[in-house]
Amino acid sequence: MNIPANKPLSYGLAVLMLLFSMLAHSETDATQQPLQDALAAIKQGSMSEREQAINHLVELKHPRSLVILQALLAGKLLVVKDQDKLVIGDAIDQDYNIVDAVSNEKLGIISAEQVGKINLTNKLRSNLRKIIGELELNADDDAVRLAAVKAMDKEVDARLLDLFKQRLAVEQNADVKEAIENILLLQQMDSADKNERMAAITQLQSHDSLDVVNKLKAITEKDADGNYAEADSDIRNIADAALTEINGRLRLYSSIETVFFGLSLGAVLVLSAIGLAITFGVMGVINMAHGELMMIGAYTTYVIQQLMPNYLGLSIILSIPAAFLISALVGIAIERGIIRFLYGRPLETLLATFGVSLFLQQTVRSIFSPLNRSVATPEWMSGSWQINDFLSLTWNRFYILIFCLIVFVLLMQILKHTKLGLEVRAVAQNRRMAKAMGIPTAQVDAMTFGLGSGIAGVAGVALSQITNVGPNLGQSYIVDSFMVVVFGGVGNLLGTLVAGFSLGIANKFLEPFAGAVLAKILVLVFIILFIQKRPRGLFPQKGRAADS
């Protein structure tokens, strides 16, 4: 899939590595000698010699030691039979792609028959795992150390405990430090001394770790006969208190998570509603094809990604202006072709634009098939931000939230500081007066509609990152986005923002106990009732403009 594009890159890397390895050869030949000896022992020796050689390799503290040992553990350390040479190889079908074990020099692809694998006994393997862990524990990279600590927290023995203590004394990185402390304190909880145990529990109650929660729960629980697993009531009480404190924080985390989900849902609502807010607020036109303009934006993303499959990130970034342009052009065409003949007849406009939406849906269905298409997410947008064991926020929703705010701020700036913005606001306030002042209202209408439609297209790009792209994409958002506009107050962009986020958060807080569908219904019913009380929304327009 990605091979053609990566080829130049991998060639470049190969050349670079070759250069480095040649340099390394010429300078460090003398220091390579003990390494070569150890490797020779690994290569030929009996299992016990192999074990000694491994230990020797560790003592050498050579920069290649860790890589070689990792390869050995993974079964990737191979001997090329006719050259009697140690290499590290990745299996490709029947062949191996090998590099020199010592110099890391690329040696190309070799068939599996020409190499022999270096075998290990199970005992040796488990020892090796520990040894590698220790090496990783002292690696220079923070992430490697943290991963090593996390990987080793399951079976902690006395020797490892010592290693942890040594590392803790010199450790600088806060995350690694906390992870090690966590393990040490968990160990301390099993100590024989009651005071030490209590001290450990007290200290641990500020740690957000699943292991801590499980351990504390084990202490406070009763077994089948109704006896406490922990005999000492002091320990039980203090563990209980610690658990309560941790649970309090967990509730906080889950609230934070719900708020985050709500904000991200709100961001989607705001993105989809804000274009509608412009066309409806300024022109009093309900554009029922607004959802389909979003769909066009999403399909634009899909097409651009198909055109440049190897540059995912770039394709998403390029999609933003492209989707804006295409949706804006379609929007202007709708305005010039249909809506301008229907000004002053909002109900007819609603019906005509609904016709347009059906038309666009069927067009997309004919071109791209009725099936949903999925748009790939670039790497920097996938995955999640793991804050602790209990709280993680997904990156794509995070980016959409930020994207929504950027779009909002940009739009506000356009409306406030550009000539178009000034004219748009003038027409929105008093169309006839604006016309009398020489503002070309027809042109402004077209541009306004284009702007609102373009933003719908941009919203479509964001949507393509969280849901599948299909002909019905827009339909599901039109009622929601109109609700947001009405709830916020027509003609008020800030109101749209507030309304979108509050509806998003309300939806997500209702979901846990009402279910997704019922939550949606409740929100709809709430808005219907809300419009009864305040027909002009949260932030109604004041003054003369409100009467029209």
Binding site: I286, F341, L351, A352, G355, V356, S357, Q362, V517, I531
Partner: protein, 364 residues
């Protein structure tokens, strides 16, 4: 000129009425009297399709009363139709009795399937035909009354009202999709056996349902014509044209609107109740906002504010739909979308308006 328009309106009205009456009497009569292989015999399919059109025409008529005469563009009118249909469907479900797949004497199949132990309270009484028919009127009527009371009292008008009616039917769509609601979820209510003890598939019952649909349509048409000609009808029309002026004259606008809205919802409920036994199924898709918008296009296509225009529109659009979805399944949405645009831009008075203009030109 004005007289001529009125005369031609009366003429069209008379034509529509007589055609309706002819269809209503002849088709069932032919089917009952002639043997199945006779040339005069209509197939079961034809009878059920035309019967369906008649109920749609009734539905269009009820929307025309709301939109054409009172100016309320209700985008959720299909919800009342579906509610009437569900009330009828519940009666028909209770008639199945032990003949269901699971053979439970009380619970419909889908409840047994969901492992429910007893009948939900709102299913009680639906084994009684009279009660069910009362519900066909009361359920849509009550919903329309409560909704309208809230909306009209706080003067929600125009596009706002349109969109919240759409939200209403959308919310109902989501709700009825849920199995927990107790209305069969996604699959809805189907597999009906009997109505009033007669086999619902039989020739006689089909003809009878057809006849009743025709009678209901004619009756509703006459009733609506009468309503629009009374003083109440004139006030309602005045509200459509100048709402604030009517209010300043001392009329309580919201009460008139509420009355019309509720009455129309009940008519839609009746249409739904006649529709369900003829097509044999009712499911949540009837609540979909698109269905409600299709009703609007029937009325707009036929010509709103004329009542018979809604009937013509409903039949023409649905006949085209039946034919075209068979011939060109992909093209239907293009055509429906095109209809919305063409009708609003070029044919604001619909087919009826076009015919009247032609008539006028001939007379001139």
């Amino acid at each position: 000129m004005k007289l001529l328009t009125l005369a031609s309106q009366d003429k069209t009205r008379a034509t529509v009425l007589s055609v309706l009456a002819a269809i209503t009497i002849i088709i069932p009569l032919c089917n009952v009297l002639t043997p199945a292989d006779s040339a005069l015999h209509f197939s079961a399919y034809t009878v059920s399709v035309i019967g369906k059109y008649l109920t749609f025409a009734l539905l269009g008529l009820s929307l025309d009363l709301v939109w054409g005469y009172c100016g309320i563009l209700a985008l959720g009118h299909g919800a009342f139709f579906a509610l009437g249909g569900y009330a009828m469907g519940m009666y028909l479900m209770r008639q199945i009795g032990t003949r269901g797949v699971y053979g439970d004497p009380l619970l419909p199949d889908f409840m047994v399937f969901l492992n429910w132990k007893e009948l939900p309270w709102f299913w009680y009484g639906f084994d009684n035909f009279a009660f069910a028919m009362l519900m066909v009127l009361l359920v849509p009527g009550t919903l329309a009354f409560v909704f309208g009371w809230l909306a009209f009292r706080s003067r929600v008008t125009g596009v706002y009202l349109s969109i919240i009616t759409q939200a209403l039917t959308y919310a109902l769509l989501l709700a009825f999709f849920r199995n927990e609601m107790g209305f069969g979820g996604n699959n809805g209510l189907t597999d009906f056996k009997d109505i009033l003890g007669f086999n619902i598939q039989s020739e006689g019952v089909r003809s009878m349902l057809f006849f009743l649909s025709g009678v209901a349509l004619i009756g509703a048409f006459l009733l609506c014509s009468w309503i629009t000609s009374t003083k109440l009808g004139r006030v309602v029309t005045a509200i459509r044209d100048q709402e604030s002026r009517v209010r300043f004259l001392g009329y309580r606008v919201e009460m008139f609107k509420l009355w019309v809205f509720t009455f129309a919802a009940m008519l839609a409920g009746v249409a739904g109740a006649l529709y369900v036994p003829q097509v044999g199924i009712i499911n949540p898709s009837e609540f979909s906002p698109l269905n409600s918008l299709e009703i609007v296009i029937w009325v707009a296509m036929g010509g709103r504010g004329t009542l018979y225009g809604a009937i013509i529109g409903a039949v023409v659009v649905n006949y085209s739909k039946t034919v075209l979805t068979g011939l060109l399944p992909d093209a239907w949405l293009y055509i429906l979308g095109g209809l919305f645009i063409v009708v609003t831009l070029l044919l604001p008075d619909g087919i009826v308006g076009l015919l009247q203009r032609k008539l006028k030109e001939q007379a001139a």
